[in-house]
Point group: C2
């Protein structure tokens, strides 16, 4: 089907460039795997009823609309860094499963946050609510749109698992932990926001579970597990937790100060929803003026933003992000992996910590 | 751990009673498996944070609150009828997975239907919305309650899969079909209700997917698959489709004319939500007066109920249910299974078709 990566001519090539090219080829295979999986499901369901393809097509649209593919990238890098065979189909399936799980999380998350835009397009629930209104259907448009989005996310969750189903037991163990963590981390996140919890420890825990583990550590561990190298788990954990914290701080900075044109979603959502972000928790611990403002009832979201700027938080958090990237890279300094892949993981840490979208 | 079923004294026992007793023992093991699985998850998460156990405990409460366990019962019966080993732990895990999937579906379904009671208790979203209101938390109580319920259902979906994860590939194939069917069937159900679709073909399709396949045919097929008997699939399919239709018609009758004290949920919900139920689709095809009423705008739910009674639908549908049960039993008349299990499947068909809750 696909040309073997290992059979491609590599003589005289820069090893770093060759490594990155291998990653890119595998990421391309993940896209093709997701696309062909959903196309086959579309065909199966199209034969049943025209309505039966709506949820499948919503997933195809979301997959096609882009995204950073951070989890597949870490999964593939974990596998290759662990010396895994680039032509092992299991790594492509595992990385595709991680992305499909993420699609599920995004669709449900957009309902929790009442977000109307994602990747520059209407979110699933916003689209179906609008359809409901335009057609003057029975019942409440909001409930209809959100119910469809819950089912679309459920279907993605089922498909993610189906994509992972032929993985060995060692991989499934990491996968099961990752998924339960995601759901429980999400719950803690919305509960903390609702309770307006001013608890930096809880902010850190949520960031650790949702970013450190879900986005970086566990995808790397899944990749290493597919390669049969569970021995790399501790180094990947330390790297993932540090780089994950940097990733989350960047996410919070982008939400607070970023450009909606780059991120594809409105800015300042976290402040509006009174989310006790990692950024806010961190800033509060350093400056009492932030704490005083955040804990005062009826403060405006824009005030928080201005106070953060006044107290020099953005510059300080940049320094903290740099420390975290360094700490993450140090964690893999002595890990038994090829230096080429160590360099690639260093480059990836920098990339996620300094992205602009 | 548990006493082996096959080692229990069975000399001189009535074979039918012995068969039913074996089923009961396995159903008891399913309860214990679900209970201990969730207890272990509780312990893992309690060590992380007090908030981290909320979703797990919501599932424990739901499992403990009862339910008919129809899917585990058909799964176990399918296995035993196929000559499967009663002491094979895989059948207990598979039946537990089916029940956990059902818990997930119930929690999400209650959000779609805005149901406030389930099994005599507040639904997950109603409970968390009430907590939100009582504590005067930030944001909207409805969104909070529903978001928690979506995550609790997501966690159950993940756990259902974890329970099924050591099953062989032949079982996973049935499992994957069953789950995608469930999500897509649910979507078609809510879309048909929103569009106020007066299409008996669609009502039948939804009933086939949601009841025939999800509740009876596929659980039986999962059980037979665990026993290594895929040859029974066609007979179980025919049985499941007929008995599933009877099951769904009874469900619709209970919703329309049943006693809320028995069912644990308010009566007449389907009419209120303008659901094109199998009962209504069937009645419309037989009597134009029903079609005229149902398609008229602004008809009252109580009118539909009264018109069904006036036109003698309940008695007619009872006769149809009897036909379906007979058809289902005929489908397994020549299947290569022990006569004791054929009789048990006949008894189960009668039980689901004539239940009062």
């Amino acid at each position: 089907m696909t040309t073997e990566v290992t059979s491609s001519p590599g003589t005289g090539q820069d090893p770093a460039a060759a490594a990155r090219r291998t990653s890119q080829v595998l990421l391309g295979r993940v896209e093709e795997h997701l696309r062909s999986f959903l196309a086959a499901e579309h065909d199966t369901w199209a034969a049943v009823d025209e309505r039966a393809v709506v949820a499948v097509d919503a997933l195809s649209d979301l997959v096609a609309s882009g995204g950073k593919r951070i989890r597949p990238a870490f999964c593939i890098t974990g596998h290759l860094a662990a010396g895994g065979d680039p032509d092992d189909g299991a790594i492509v399936a595992a990385a595709a499963a991680l992305e499909m799980l993420h699609v599920s999380a995004l669709v449900h998350d957009d309902v929790f946050d009442a977000s109307t835009r994602r990747r520059g397009e209407p979110t699933v629930h916003a689209h179906h609510s609008a359809l409901h209104t335009a057609n003057a259907w029975q019942g409440e448009a909001r409930r209809f749109g959100e119910s469809v989005a819950v089912l679309v996310g459920d279907l993605a969750l089922v498909y993610s698992d189906q994509l992972m189903s032929s993985a060995p037991a060692t991989v499934l163990e990491v996968w099961n932990t990752l998924r339960a963590e995601l759901m429980i981390g999400q719950y803690m996140d919305i509960a903390a926001a609702a309770e307006f919890s001013v608890d930096p420890r809880l902010s850190r825990l949520v960031a650790l579970v949702k970013s450190g583990h879900y986005t970086i550590h566990r995808p790397l561990a899944v990749g290493a597990s597919v390669a049969g190298r569970p021995d790399l788990a501790p180094a990947f954990k330390e790297y993932g937790e540090a780089v994950g914290e940097a990733f989350q701080l960047r996410d919070d900075l982008l939400d607070a100060f970023g450009d909606a044109a780059d991120t594809g979603k409105p800015a300042g959502l976290d402040f509006q929803q009174h989310k006790m972000t990692l950024l806010l928790g961190w800033a509060m611990q350093r400056d009492d003026r932030i704490r005083t403002l955040v804990t005062s009832p009826r403060h405006a979201p824009a005030e928080v933003r201005d106070r953060l700027l006044d107290t020099g938080v953005p510059a300080d958090v940049e320094a903290h992000i740099a420390d975290l990237v360094e700490r993450g890279c140090k964690a893999i300094a002595d890990a038994p992996i090829d230096p080429v892949w160590r360099d690639e993981l260093t480059a990836m840490a920098t990339k996620v910590a300094y992205r602009n979208a």
